[in-house]
């Protein structure tokens, strides 16, 4: 290449391919990437020098360069000789630019592998020729398909260690083809290689005499990429309609109001008729702006700012889309979910769901089945542990704009966030909506909460008592009700123990059952507040997440959390029901405070100390705080 314009033109035309390498531990992923970088002349001299130094220190191959050390960058990784987190590497050939994500093989780092796979268009799945297809190979293959990667290279590595024998290769090839039978992949190529020896990486030099196909790099360089959204089953008119989730409203002054975002599919031009979802309001595009220019049209992947002809209400999380072909809106879905947290998934618990720029509360209403990933078997499940994959029903607290993941990754992939510590605990893909939200209607009632309360001449409230067993909740709650009743107030006391004899008698004491127990009681309490009553709930309610969920059911002024803060030792000393003694002796399982956790409130409206204050004093404190008339 002689001059700059020629070089820049070449660069301009060169497309980038984002790919991952995956496969079981020790199948040689990092070594392969190191080799690819080296063979395509993308390793600098100073890096090569430090590689020589490192190979002597950490290397596993005597007197040879250990290419994996080019990639494994964390200290713990180099010391243990394993990959913990994804490493991103860059290289280019004459035909393509590549961003390679090297993913960890160990099962406990599956979430990092999913992170890398979510943005890849092609996967290289390594198989050790000596070992064949392993459980972890199947796991990675499953995540690759879950994430919608449809281009797959099976690199049968370490062929040198099996003397480049054809029958070894053929066996793995046919084993793999049996594995992929059920899946809809565009392209699979099986290539025998040796990463440490550099065989069949850049060119097929006939070291492997039975194989006449392309080398790994030759294959990657010439491949036509079809990505997940180019699903042949979806008519092309549908997949390419315009959708842009709004990231931000840009409003420097009165004269300009622009909606910025990145186009998730299709294209948009000046004058296009558009719809804003979920509101359904219609408008048309006045300008398509980027930087200092009005560019009149833009297509998929571009970050732009739109202005509209009408003064319509648009905010972050809304989707601006083609008027004639809008995406769906729904609040109940069937999804595939991969769980990523050490804390198990609890159906019924409220989590945050993030789907493009929308953020809503969501709960798992049913685990249809979990997959035994290594065999593909479907198993019944009450909960999900880290790295498990399941098909579930998911319900959101308000309708969201979406498309099935198979037709649009960006409109159908979501993450689940824990509401307490904000960790990302799960990732999922929407398969379809269970029913359209347009079919659900609230029955409009003629008499409402305000009217009911007015008749009773009181302000409805929910007084929620939480605390350990034996803390004095029920005693105080009962005194509060007695006092209110005497004053002519309409009340109802929901006691945890009593409700377990009726409405909740089908529930036990596992974490999942406790969450469901709480969900039912809170819904009942809500109905009673709606009826205009002062509802008093006396209920251990050990988990912060569920108490938060209950709180969100009510208007802020309606709900008071009352923490009966009696220390465990004191409750155990009182042991009015003899339960602590049973729990200590092992006769009673899952007992709060003993072998099941109690998470104390951080900001209860009222906190009671039953050691320093008599129950009557506590009642006075509560009545002082609430405002019922």
């Amino acid at each position: 290449m002689k001059n700059i314009s020629e070089f820049l033109l070449n660069q301009y035309q060169k497309k980038t391919l984002r790919l991952i390498t995956c496969g079981s531990v020790d199948d040689g992923k990092s070594t392969l990437i190191g080799r690819l970088l080296h063979e395509s002349q993308n390793v600098f001299e100073d890096q090569l020098k430090s590689l020589e130094k490192d190979s002597e220190k950490f290397g596993t191959h005597k007197n040879e360069l250990d290419f994996s050390l080019l990639v494994d960058g964390l200290k713990a990784e180099r010391e243990q000789g394993i990959t913990i987190d994804v490493a991103y590497r860059f290289f280019e050939t004459e035909h393509r630019r590549y961003i390679v994500a090297d993913t960890p093989g160990h099962e406990q780092y599956t979430r990092n592998m999913a992170t890398a796979a979510s943005n890849a268009e092609l996967a290289i799945l390594l198989v050790d020729a000596q070992k064949g297809i392993l459980a972890q190979t199947r796991r990675h293959y499953r995540i690759v398909t879950l994430m919608g990667i449809r281009n797959l290279v099976i690199a049968v590595n370490k062929m040198d260690l099996v003397q480049y024998k054809e029958n070894v290769f053929q066996k793995i090839d046919s084993d793999f083809r049996n594995l992929v039978l059920d899946h809809d992949l565009n392209q699979i190529q099986v290539i025998p290689i040796s990463a440490t020896k550099g065989v069949n990486i850049t060119e097929n030099d006939q070291t492997i005499s039975f194989y006449s196909g392309p080398s790994l790099l030759e294959y990657l360089d010439q491949l036509q990429i079809r990505n997940s959204s180019n699903n042949l089953k979806v008519p092309s008119s549908q997949e390419s309609s315009f959708r842009m989730p709004v990231q931000r409203v840009i409003r420097p002054d009165e004269s300009y109001r622009g909606f910025s975002g990145r186009i998730a599919s299709g294209s948009v031009s000046n004058g296009d008729l558009v719809k804003i979802l979920p509101s359904g309001v219609q408008s048309s595009v006045r300008s398509v702006d980027f930087w200092k220019n009005s560019i009149s049209n833009a297509s998929k992947n571009t970050s732009i700012t739109l202005t509209l002809e009408d003064e319509v209400d648009v905010s972050r999380g809304d989707v601006i889309c083609a008027y004639e072909d809008p995406p769906e809106i729904a609040d109940q879905f069937q999804v595939d979910l991969i769980w990523m947290s050490k804390e198990p998934l609890i159906p019924g618990r409220q989590y945050l769901m993030r789907l493009h720029q929308q953020e809503v509360n969501a709960q798992v209403t049913r685990i249809r089945f979990k997959e035994e990933i290594e065999t593909g078997k479907h198993l019944a499940a009450e909960t999900l542990e880290m790295n498990e994959i399941a098909q579930i029903n998911l319900s959101t607290n308000r309708p969201v704009v979406f498309e099935p993941y198979s037709s649009n990754r960006l409109m159908g992939g979501f993450i689940i966030i824990d509401k307490m510590n904000f960790d990302t605990v799960g990732a999922g893909i929407i398969k379809f909506a269970l029913r359209r939200s347009s079919n659900i209607h609230w029955q409009k009632l003629q008499v409402n909460k305000v009217q009911r309360a007015k008749q009773k001449m009181q302000t409805p409230k929910c007084l929620w008592f939480t605390g350990l067993s034996g803390s004095g909740k029920s005693t105080i709650a009962s005194l509060v009700e007695k006092k209110l009743h005497a004053d002519g107030i309409h009340t109802y006391l929901l006691d945890g123990d009593n409700i377990r004899h009726g409405l909740n008698r089908d529930l036990g004491f596992t974490n999942e059952d406790r969450v469901e127990n709480m969900r039912r009681i809170s819904e009942v309490a809500k109905l009673m507040v709606d009826a205009g009553l002062i509802v008093i709930v006396s209920f251990i309610s050990p988990f912060r997440a569920e108490r938060q969920m209950v709180r969100e059911l009510f208007d802020p002024s309606e709900f008071l959390e009352i923490f009966v803060d009696t220390p465990l030792e004191e409750c155990e000393r009182r042991d009015t029901k003899g339960l602590y003694a049973k729990a200590r002796s092992g006769k009673l399982k899952n007992f709060t405070g003993i072998d099941s956790v109690y998470e104390p409130p951080e900001s209860a409206e009222i906190k009671l100390n039953t050691i320093t204050s008599k129950p009557e004093k506590c009642v006075d404190m509560i009545l002082e705080k609430i405002n019922i008339f």
Partner: protein, 301 residues
Amino acid sequence: MDSNLSHLEFLEAESIEIIREAIAGAKNPVMLYSIGKDSSVMLQLALKSFYPASPPLPLLHVDTTWKFKEMYNFRNQIARDSGMELLVHTNQEGVKAGISPFTHSSNYYTDVMKTQALRQVLEIGGYDVILGGARRDEEKSRAKERVFSFRSEGHNWDPKAQRPELWNLYNTKLNNGQTMRVFPLSNWTEKDVWQYLLQEKISIVPLYFAKERPIVYRNETLIMVDDERIPLETGEKPQMKSVRFRTLGCYPLTGAIESNASTLEEIVLETMKAKTSEREGRLIDSDEAGSMEKKKREGYF
């Protein structure tokens, strides 16, 4: 990429999306501005992300007092031109104690004047989201970092406990005391940066262009004599050489390369043929094994 866009257009669109997401999740954001070429690209992307509004965050320069003179001039010019607020912070305790890259080890110097200084100003300003121009192709531990990277209360990075980061869904929620560092240029390479500077005609510090400059040799590295603070050995005389810099930092710790590339076009061509990595000129990266990871764990950007 199944894309109608060129690779630079794609990277640009992706970075703008990231910057907008970072701001959407932030209460008190700030953008680190190191005066280098990556900062110039970041600034351009920030301006584009919010145009015609001004980027809703200030620039922050952590100043060691040992940058090249031309960098300070350039910084002040940019602050005027961009219309953005520029904050400058120096670890005054370090200045008082006379910490200097000539008398102290590069490790100690970097810790006091960069890492500690950064931690100080983040505490003072109470920033929750800090944008920086680091790229994954720069160094091995950076290659492992997420685009949105979380720090504990003490600004420490735990590379073994990074949040999963799927698709373009960035979970920007912070737990108590956590802060977030955001790297919109994660997927860019050095080559991309130079090509983008050329494409966008972005101005950069003149030190990036080859010119005759006074040079001395230190540890096989070409160090420019930028002011009188550099101790010369008896009989040592700076030589005039045509050099440029691939990266810019503190002048006593930044090696020049011999070059005649005096335009962006020439630099792009030279970068394409480069046989050594850009951080080779950074003395602080190689002062001990795994040193970048260690610095990052302690709060270095």
